[in-house]
Symmetry: C2
């Protein structure tokens, strides 16, 4: 299929979701200051970003609120305290993991909430539980997406079945998620067409969430976009677990819709993100994350390697091969 759109013009259907606080929260256990969050909200507004994801809505029964910042739980009250009534074009998103969110208790009517979109993250073997959450959130009035994680480990036939289940559900958007940063652009283009094929059949939208293990997060995101994917995840300076995500500054500079402005993003990166790095938080491409990415495994070993300050990436490589 020829690319949708071209590099001179823009597709008005393409929207951007800022996942700095949610995926980046995995780097600092969600301890963002209120000042940071307010400035991020202002930067996203000025940049023309479509959705700002403030964090997870995890269950306080499962995770100790003493051990995590408040954006692990993202209560309506905490969101209101930042965005007020949010009479803007910037929609607010939260993520809810299958099995880690008490959605019946913690996700109530949209009319009483500052949240617009609930993104439901699931592994492929818990699709029925994801669909139960989608149905609940839809009934409560929210937009929904379903983010099927770790598909690089899943069989194509299972992915087909899961997408068909989603097609028949009330979900708004299917997400193509490269959890381990292991997929090459050629594979992403192929997967994007598969997702789009089923999405088109059922009138859904497709999103892309990339990881940067092989420095392919931006390439995979824009290649998916060229195939027709239209909800693109990015984070400021790529902040996210391990090797991080597609960078907001990359994607905003790529998109040609005049509503997107790069200047507020560059300013935010300078004033907030570089200082976060200098404070000791670590994310982004490095050799250890390349190695977990190319071996298609969870980044946890690379994150541990980094935390331990190890520099023997050759031994690390041999250990990964041994685990395989």
């Amino acid at each position: 299929m020829a690319p949708r759109g071209n590099l001179m013009d823009y597709r008005p259907d393409v929207a951007v979701l800022d996942c700095t606080m949610r995926d980046g929260g995995l780097v600092n256990d969600f301890f963002f200051t209120d000042e940071f969050v307010r400035k991020l909200y202002q930067a996203d507004l000025a940049a023309g970003v479509d959705y700002m994801e403030v964090g997870y809505r995890a269950s306080k029964d499962l995770f100790d609120p003493e051990k995590f910042g408040k954006w692990k739980f993202s209560t309506d009250e905490d969101i209101y305290s930042i965005v007020g009534d949010n009479n803007t074009d910037l929609k607010i998103s939260i993520m809810a993991d299958v099995g880690r969110c008490d959605f019946k208790r913690d996700i109530g009517e949209r009319s009483n909430s500052p949240v617009d979109l609930v993104r439901i993250a699931t592994y492929i073997n818990t699709m029925p539980a994801a669909i139960e959450m989608i149905e609940h959130c839809t009934k409560m009035g929210y937009e929904t997406t379903c983010n099927i994680m770790a598909i690089s480990k899943a069989k194509e036939s299972d992915i087909d079945a899961a997408l068909d289940m989603l097609g028949r559900s009330p979900v708004g958007t299917f997400y193509l998620v490269d959890s381990y940063g292991s997929l090459y652009p050629e594979q992403i283009r192929h997967m994007a067409l598969k997702y789009l094929d089923i999405a088109d059949k059922y009138g859904k939208r497709v999103g892309m969430h990339a990881h940067n293990n092989q420095q392919l997060a931006f390439a995979n995101t824009i290649d998916a976009c060229a195939e027709g994917v239209s909800l693109l995840d990015a984070s400021m300076n790529g902040m996210g677990r391990g090797s991080g995500n597609c960078m907001m500054e990359q994607i905003i500079s790529f998109l040609k819709n005049p509503k997107f402005k790069l200047d507020p993003v560059v300013k935010f990166v300078q004033n907030e993100m570089i200082p976060l790095r200098e404070s000791g938080l670590v994310w982004g491409y490095d050799t250890q994350h390349l190695l977990t990415g190319l071996l298609n495994v969870h980044p946890r070993a690379a994150i541990k390697y980094t935390k331990e300050g190890r520099k023997d990436c050759r031994n690390f490589y041999l250990e990964l091969l041994d685990d395989d």
Copy 2:
């Protein structure tokens, strides 16, 4: 056109050129120790790399040998002192810039030289001078490539004319060069097909040399490869001017030809490249190089910004816009 090859198998025509010393030499003015160069040679041999580029052969009349390391000049004697008779499958390459190399004096018979390949770098407005060099080097017995730089600033009609001149010349390989790191994969795929079309007509090979300003060096290299490009430049840990190049560890882990081995590359990165970074040499992706890349300008302003230790990337962005 469907991709040539697939992700499970390999194309035996795909070769890798290590440009660590040549493009990386632009970071440290070519002051590599003999020990580093010997270890790099051993690592490339063990990794199955096809060509090792040791540096430029610049004219000592134009550049002061007191101010540069010896790999700015890469004399036959200096190369012999590292590789001896080089009875291996690893070929030796040098680069010669149009207007900066006294080729009639400094590039003699291949039978008296350890060099196998001369890569001739030119801007598009000096093609006749490049062809004169190609003819000379061919007559002396060398393999040749022609690397037309800064094509992101050139008109398609001029590129077509230059490729046709090269087609009719004795050059062996045309190089697709993204000097400013400004080209997106979609553009690279399009350009690769253009280059391949003319190359196929004249029985030539096509190469790819990428820069990492937008973190697209690896993606652009493998996408060009999938279209049929078969000589791929990479450098250890991406060492190269400004944002650097496609990383050897990325490309060797991607290619499926069993002759390529990742382990020696990871070991070299650990033992030699990380210490080089820790010694204060700077290369690789950062916001300032993203900005020059997306604005399609020479990285010199970003290199200066880095050297001055500036952290005001937002002002830098405004300055670049002002220069435009």
